[in-house]
Amino acid sequence: MLRKRIWVTLFLLVALLTWVLVPVSAKKVKLTVWGRDLPDDDPAHAYIKALVEGFKAKNPDIELEYVALGDPGLMDKTKVVMASNTGLPDIFQSWGGSVMGGYADAGRLLDLTKELKDIPGSAAARQAMTWKGKIYGVAPFFAIAGIFANEDLFKAHGLEIPKTVAELEKVCDTFLAKGIQPIAVGARDKWPVLALYMYLTNRYGGYEAFGNAQARKARFDSEPFVKAALKYQEWAKKGYFGEKPLSEAYGDAQQLMATGKAAMHITGSWMCAQYSDPGFTDQTIGFYAFPILEGGKGKATDIMGMTDIGFAATRAARKKKDAVVRFMKYAMDPEPCSAEPGRICSVPGVKSPSRLNAMASAVFATAETVQFWWDQDLPPMVTSPLNDTMQNFFLPDADVKKALTQYEQLVEDNIGPVK
């Protein structure tokens, strides 16, 4: 009888413990993260894979649901849920700037200033994820625009990497005469045109040129913008961008560089991984700062940059701030960051994975001012019209001044007139 009682008591005790403990251990915090890339074996996705797998392994009390939405799926879906204020993820991949600012203004984001202000990282990357003085996320990788140059082709034709725009033109003329496309651009996709236009405008008008137009102290059809557009058009007419630049997609531009058919590619440092991958190209490619313009206001140390990979948190995660902060901190940890084969890391202590990446990092290190990519810094209602406007630069008969004036009118309608 006693034995039976002991068994019954033991059974009840086990049942009680199971009832009490199991729900506690099962009650994990669920964190939903929306990203662009799959955490698969693609070298370009190495960081995301390391981040997702590493975070899961190091945080067993958090259930991480990572959803890869692709491009433009991530941006489209994020926009829809932000507008409807339903179905928000806890964290989403963000490029910061004005788009993130729009979400912040609408009250959809979680202010993490207190929690993230002391995380070590580059000032430019922190600035990209800051809006109106509040930090909403982290940017472990930051991209800068510069010139990818095929060093083999430069050497073969006895050319030096250009330090001035005049030298750049001479280099382009030489390549053109040798039947090599001087610059690959990918103008069909519109946005790749911007990198060179930002630099040309900067070199003519200085760092303030864009800032003044954005702050409505100057027009977008003022001198530096028009001069840069005319220079662009002049180069297109000369054939610097090939015979059919508007048919060339960004992927085509990469192929032209990879096969040695083009000598230079002015684009973001995110291409470092591919251009240093022997499986992608057998050419020796280097990364250099955009040249200065003699007599112009812009400096070689004025660098165009943007968030390459960043994350921001939404208000949906306000009750699990601790888990969000742990994710953000791990995103900025050298461990997953070291898995990245190409991008410029904002985290101190992470070694450059390749010579090309080291070159891009060195250019970034010289930056005295970092101008955010215009299409990340301007409000969304005027960014895609800017990309459309820039395609005019490739049409020999287009009136680029008129196109910029039309763009200015659109900016006036949406942001306001020049004060």
Binding site: Y103, R188, E243, P379, D388, Q406
Partner: protein, 316 residues
């Protein structure tokens, strides 16, 4: 007694029958309503309400965040003032026109030839022509880019190998004057298959006796097609014309995937403008205004087509 009963019985049964009929009618109405309600609710929630809501949104300035501001018809005014919209508007009308003028006669010609010259490979050819129609737009667009790409494209590579410089120099997707036609060529290949199969099915329905009597009367194939086949498949031709026209007004996938609406606005369409305004530019009000314009244009074309058919007695 028997007679009285015989007279009374029908009176009683008639009243009873009326009551039963009334009851049955109610049952029938309830029954019908039960069947209709889900479909009706579906239509109201997912079709009529969004149409009304889209029209309402088109009168507001809204980014989707914060309060919307009523601005009357300003979204429409701004759209018609913009070069992008005007180009897109003209493009879809041109696309609709050329679809009817080129694609339908071409489809009819191929269908007629396949039916008239029926051989063992007709079935195979039907499948070949239809294949492009069942392919996803993304694949068709990839093929288009692969064919027209400037350096590594099929045409460019072939022209370079054959040293046909005139062909190699054509900028199929980057020249604003040619890009529209390059896309149209791809669309003709992609969309004509359905029309061919539809026309074939209808031409095959024409009784053999009619063709034989036409042959006995000395009609050649052209006359048979002109005076017998075309009038007899006039209704299917109009149906295809409506589908092509309305499809053109909503055109999005091929231009977006192949050229992104460029160069500049050369291949943009109303649906591309709608997408860009809503999802890229955050101008929900203006995107809704484009949606309303597409809806109205489609409605006008459809009503015009049906009233034309009603006048010609086809719908009676």
């Amino acid at each position: 007694m028997g007679k009285a009963a015989a007279v009374k019985t029908p009176q009683l049964s008639m009243g009873k029958r009326k009551a039963e009929k009334k009851k049955r009618d109610w049952h029938s109405i309830t029954f019908q309503a039960l069947f209709l309600l889900p479909a009706l609710a579906f239509l109201i929630i997912f079709m009529y309400y969004p149409i009304i809501e889209t029209f309402r949104t088109s009168l507001y300035q809204t980014t989707g965040f914060g309060p919307a501001r009523f601005i009357g018809f300003q979204n429409y005014a701004r759209l018609f003032a913009s070069e992008e919209f005007r180009t897109g508007f003209v493009n879809v009308l041109a696309w609709a026109f050329w679809s009817v003028v080129i694609q339908i006669p071409l489809a009819f010609y191929i269908a007629f030839t396949l039916v008239v010259y029926k051989t063992r490979i007709t079935g195979f050819l039907r499948a070949v022509y239809y294949l492009a129609s069942v392919m996803p737009s993304a694949i068709t667009a990839m093929l288009g880019r692969f064919i027209f790409a400037p350096t590594f494209g099929v045409i460019s590579s072939l022209a370079n190998r054959l040293e046909w410089k005139w062909l190699a120099s054509i900028d199929f997707l980057g020249n604003p004057n040619i890009a529209f036609w390059s896309l149209f060529a791809m669309a003709t290949w992609a969309y004509t298959g359905f029309s061919i199969v539809y026309f074939m099915a209808n031409i095959e329905q024409i009784p053999m006796e009619i063709r034989e009597s036409a042959q006995l009367d000395g009609a050649n194939l052209w006359q048979y097609a002109r005076y017998i086949a075309i009038p007899m498949v006039a209704y299917p031709i109009r149906i295809i014309a409506i589908i092509s026209t309305v499809g053109s007004l909503k055109l999005f996938d091929l231009p977006w995937l192949i050229t992104g609406g460029g160069p500049v606005y050369a291949t943009t369409t109303l649906a591309i403008i709608l997408y860009k305004q809503g999802f890229v530019n955050w101008q929900y009000g203006r995107a809704a205004a484009v949606g309303v314009i597409i809806f109205l244009l489609s409605l006008i074309f459809t009503i015009a087509q049906f009233s034309f058919q009603r006048k010609s007695g086809e719908l009676d």
